[in-house]
């Protein structure tokens, strides 16, 4: 069983029940999530050996985050215990024309303040087949950026495949800083995952034709973005997720995988949304799985999009879909008939 290491932050996620707004809530559902933790959790559901590297406080709330990962089968031995606080974020679920809202409260978290040398990458990555991180981790702090760089360098040395989801977060850093820092990391990346906005925000790479706020999808534009990214950084593969937003309740979801020469598009799924946070992460996890399993490019993008399509029907960030469920959907069974 291949071992995958992901590195980043895990936060306390707090959301009102159902469709209540923040100001109506007398309770928050508490789960624990973060881009790279989500990827690890999803890979563990696929039966892979996934290990999450991070730092969380030694107190009980930190323990809750560890426990949530363990519960879903993620190896937590690479989580350092220490620091003062676990980052948190608040999610208000949208519906119809009302957009979902996310409020971050993640500054000064244990992982943001961790020193690069706390992570012994040679040990952590030993025996691993894959290393994954997203653009959120280096955005957390200069320390986290350095740790990310240490990690990808070690991965390269050890022959560990590296994937990165650009995941630009404008509340964490500017496009300028992001471009500079991410630019230094990209040369070590084998698989790049992005959406059109990421590429433009971080590297100024854009396609002229698509209009994201209208949900229009433009195949040529996406291929152009992937080709530019690939040429600039030498990625082996570049994947792009395509979200057509009809409303907060209904989206069209598809994706593309560019292998340096050819672009493979998945079918598009009309999704009736239960919870879309973590959708991109579930795509990344399924793509890593596909490539570790040596699926061909078409099958890989189909699997990744089907997996992330299912994520939209699952509460909270983690994609708790199994390989069997993803394959059934990728195989064409989207009718949602009761399984009994």
């Amino acid at each position: 069983m291949e071992r995958i290491i992901t590195f980043g932050e895990i936060m306390l996620r707090l959301n009102p029940e159902g469709y209540l707004r923040f100001t109506q809530a007398g309770k928050f559902e508490a789960s624990y999530a973060g881009g790279e933790a989500n990827v690890a959790a999803s890979l563990a559901q696929f039966g892979m050996e996934a290990s999450f590297a991070s730092k969380v406080p030694a107190h009980e709330i930190g323990q809750c985050a560890v426990n949530e990962l363990r519960r879903y089968g993620v190896d937590t031995r690479n989580i350092i215990r220490g620091g003062d606080r676990l980052g948190a974020y608040f999610v208000e679920k949208g519906a119809s024309q009302r957009a979902s809202k996310v409020i971050y409260d993640r500054a000064n978290s244990a992982i943001a303040l961790a020193k690069p040398e706390e992570f012994k990458w040679q040990e952590i990555l030993k025996g691993a087949a894959w290393f994954h991180f997203t653009g959120i981790t280096p955005a957390l702090s200069a320390n986290a950026a350095q740790a990310s760089l240490d990690a990808v360098k070690a991965a390269r040395e050890l022959g560990v495949i590296v994937s990165c989801d650009l995941n630009y977060r404008k509340k964490l850093w500017t496009s300028e800083t992001a471009g500079k820092v991410m630019g230094g990391l990209m040369p070590y990346v084998d698989l790049c995952i992005a959406n059109e906005e990421d590429a433009a925000d971080v590297f100024g790479i854009r396609s002229e034709k698509s209009d994201i706020s209208k949900g229009a999808l433009d195949r040529e534009g996406y291929i152009s973005v992937a080709r530019q990214l690939t040429e600039k950084f030498g990625f082996k593969k570049t994947a792009i997720t395509l979200r057509g937003s009809i409303s907060a309740s209904d989206n069209n979801w598809s994706g593309m995988l560019y292998d340096g020469g050819q672009a493979f598009f998945s079918p598009a799924y009309p999704v009736h949304i239960v919870d879309r946070v973590g959708g991109g992460d579930s795509f990344g996890a399924a793509l890593i799985y596909s490539l570790l399993k040596n699926f061909d490019s078409q099958k890989a993008i189909n699997f990744a999009v089907a997996a992330s399509c299912l994520k939209h029907s699952i509460e909270h960030d983690f994609n708790l879909a199994s390989v069997q469920e993803v394959e059934a959907l990728a195989g064409g069974n989207a009718s949602g008939r009761v399984q009994r």
Copy 2:
């Protein structure tokens, strides 16, 4: 007021709240349900005198099942108390492309282990107008199959109309056994309820043209199935439910009633699903009501489909719709405007 007896199993139904997956649940909603119990509960909502015959343990969980039936007005005097366990099943509600899941834990239940002679059918059926069971009951055990046979024979003797919903459950028995056992029961049945799959699974009767997983509906094919069933067993009427599955969230729902000569199709309703478990049972209940009320065939199938359409908008198995609500929908008011 006509009295209807239904016979079968009532189970503890456990489902996570909302759209949570099983593995996310820290609580299960607890209700009590089963094909024939659902029919009885629905008939009681229609103001009929419905009595449910079964066996449940003498302990408190068995009492909970009795209480749930009483709460909704079902007569429970024909429920024997004894045996060790109440069957249970787990439901995970699907959404969008993620299918609902049902896990059964019903083996060795009190009703499955009950001896045929525990049920005094002459007494139970005395004064009844109708007896209803489904293909699940004889599938529970050889004892339950014998009890079912005793029941339908007694009903025939006493002039009680008999209906049966084929309801094939592949986890309970094989097609071969089902065909044999059900074949022995069918001669006593006046009204047969099925869907295309049931007819094929139990009796090998099929229509060539429809493709269920795509939700395609083929009128001719359904008529053909009904005709074959009718001819084989001499049913007075045969009804078929037609489900077009767009996704786990959206279905098209309609039905057909074949009177031995002519087929009557209801309108098809696009349903946005709240809970579809029990949909077929609500159709059966409403059809029994319609026929006891001497509705003509078109009105009967329209009423039955409207009733079961409403069931899809109601949580848990029981169809808690009233005659007035069903008639409003069958009469054409599908707009869902607030009643105030």
Copy 3:
């Protein structure tokens, strides 16, 4: 900051959780609402100084109503404490073809039994820019009708703009009484809000072509109704909300503002409903805001319809949308993309 006074009843609203029917509920969500209270709450979210005039019992349940208003920033100094009971109403949320249900238990509430002279309108309205009430308030009792008349007369004297939402409730009074009482109030009204049914029910004013139960919308008919209303009572402006009911889950929502000469129609929004109770009130509140901000007629109706479109995605009666959210939607962003 302009000060708006609304006058009417606030009730305890009780609804089962999610889509449970009344008879399934072991708990009721408790909120506090009423047509004019809803308008005040919405205006407070828009940053306006909104004050709600009413009477509620001095006991803790009355206090709960006061607290809910305060929580959302409504001034409660004009709420008299006394009387025996807070009116209540029960809401069962519909879905798909199953309509929502509202059961009122509001007779003999503190506000219905309050004496007209308890409300010192000269003091209450001093410094106010706007006074709003709906057809529900005068329907509560003869006393409440007299208090409403006192209020609008005082408003006219003090130069306070007056708006009224016709809001005909057939369970509270007959069309005949409504026509007579409302007819006496209308001469003091500057802005009239209605839907086609209201105009017909209260004043016998109707348009021939539209068929509400089918959701058909007929622009000419609506203009005709507005014109007739305006001519009869001399309103400065008349607004009409247009609801196309596809099902209890999906509606089309739009509106029209008639300025005495020209009619302005908003875009129509397809809404996937979370809770539609209070939709009309949120329209009224947003229209008052628009006019106080001197928006032109097209912008005003667009803002009002966008605001009330958002209300349909929010639980309970109060529209907790902000000006910024409404403007984003009115500005064309209906895609519901996550804000983070």
Copy 4:
């Protein structure tokens, strides 16, 4: 199986979850209860045939009350459907030094407005062994007082034993009116249940020594009250419940049965309270059971006090204890060891 009829009001009971105060509650637990309904429910748990006579609205909230009674096995055929509203009451559970609070909203309920002639006592009481009501029923309205009188007269005619729990409610009527009306009913009563306050409030009968607010218990005083009551009205038996209030969390609970000559005291139980509302009703129900089963006076009072002791550990008004559980406690097993 003996048949018992109880007559009175059933209300919607709303209480915040746990120990939340009213003003903190965003939800209310909904149950259905009332003095005489509680007695019927408790008797049904003891396996008796209990029928509750009342009137509730034909709408769904009225149906909820009927369903709750059916659920616990109470016969509901004597509940008339009609009228406008179901009475309601709000309960806030106290703890430690903070007292529980009850707010009634029961005026103008269906039962309060029902006409005496709606109740056909000859039919209702036919075949019954016992009729029970409390001082709350005649306090509801002059109509309800008349219906109570009709009932007890019919009971006397038919040889049905009559019991009455004085249950004085100062919010419903004055001591003066209560004394007059109750005085007219008492001659038809065989078993009178009271506490020292009731006797004083209704009939001015009091004992000098006990100080209720301190929880002091004075055997002689209680005997004196019972003797005076018995002599005044000719009761066959008089029972008094003795509550020693240590705090809202802890009470001492005992009782006395006076047979006209001798007084029998039960043991006193120190109860750690879960919910004490309905405690007195559960005492009455168990006493009726005891006397119908011909227990001797000591056994009867012991059974009644043990039953009502258990009620204090059960949520909501209904005493859901079984005969077996009561007998175990009355037999001396108060250790609460796990039964498995």
Copy 5:
């Protein structure tokens, strides 16, 4: 009506439901609290005009804190909107021998980072009768300490009475720093509230005899501490709360007020705890109320202890007891009998 200003931090309080441990929680109850906010909320329940001065972020979670205060009648006009985060803390309720746990996550909150000059004390305190803060506020940051000093100086100038609860928090600062900073503030304080530990931790003032962990209470020791504090800083009055901890479920609670010459002890209440967080704050609020109402010292301490005794029976931090409830308890009615 006297106006009281309190100044400090309001945080998001998150606690698992009931007695669940942090690591078992899938939901957290969300309320908003902090020492000085609690005092303001309690005073508002007593009918006083209480205004809370602080700074919270402009986002929705900050708004939630404002709304919670408004809901309970606290004036929020002195809450500045800005900064990045609302402080948070986690509470795990203890029981029996298991202690409650509090985890703070309050560093870098909006109020901790606010600049002293943001608070215009001359304006804020204008017309106020009283200013209250606790030792937590100056412990938040040097800025907050300066703002506190500015406040008390302005209060002295304006003739506003000043009270301070020492409230030493060892996680926020050292005893040494606390002593220095608090020492600079104390000369402006009229009423000092403390417990024996505070006095020792902050100022090194201690009594030799009492042993806190055993719950022993030593009157002489407490008087000695109060006298030392008074002599050192010239307080007009010094109050000390006395907690005897039997277990996490049961405490004995009393207090003492020292007027510079004489010490007045309240009765001690055995409290069965619902939620003890905020107990000290409720004492402070009730003492302020007592002194503003010119109660004599004995009545004042009795009222303050009765109020805070009741707080222990109320969920979350705010003491939602009314003056009437406190007076009933202080007047000797501790029996917790139902009020109906």
Copy 6:
């Protein structure tokens, strides 16, 4: 870190919320527990490497059990996946004089039907320091008894210490069978845990003086039982838990450890119960921990009793107390003061 293997059944535990009775419950809290699983979970909280050997179905409910164990840090690699059902049990929490109730539905579970050879004890026990089971496991089935025997024999061979909690369950087998089967296992046991009832029920060993139902404790009697057990089977140590049941809410809890010569009694704790199920298991776990850490006998029994005392304050079966918390209590701090 020492590795401990426990072997037995893990079940779905279903309990109503709070103090609701089974028949009131519309929801059940779902957790996963069983005697030996509880021991493993507790040891994992103490930082030990605990592995649970069992068999659970391959479906999602089986996965839930695995996930719950993983969540709390238990190694699950020795859990075989297969079989048809997960055993279940229902818990109704008692209060005051109302006893808790447990209903088992565990027959035919995957572990009960597992074949002895499915467990490769040489592999499972390799590197382990300790093996623990209870009398429940061999009671499940002849297969499970054989597997237990295989396990203890392998343990003896490999030098793994063996502990057994007698845990007699009369619903699973008779005293006669238990005595015979357990008698065959005891020679391989080093540490025996029992209560007086167990010793009597399984081996007919009893002490004359104590009266369990009254909660009386008799030191001499307990020593006598331990001595007889030790002499009969050659245990190195025998431990006995002593429960004094005052009511379902309050117990006294203590224990004794007999080392073959001397008996060591712990202090007795008065516990106010949150959830007592799993109390005995938490004692066993803590005793194993103590002995692995080479605590002397007095310290060991004190630690074990303090740990299990804390368990009574924790919901559900698992003891989620940490070593630090247990040591604080064992060290004498039972005051439950807030830790902040």
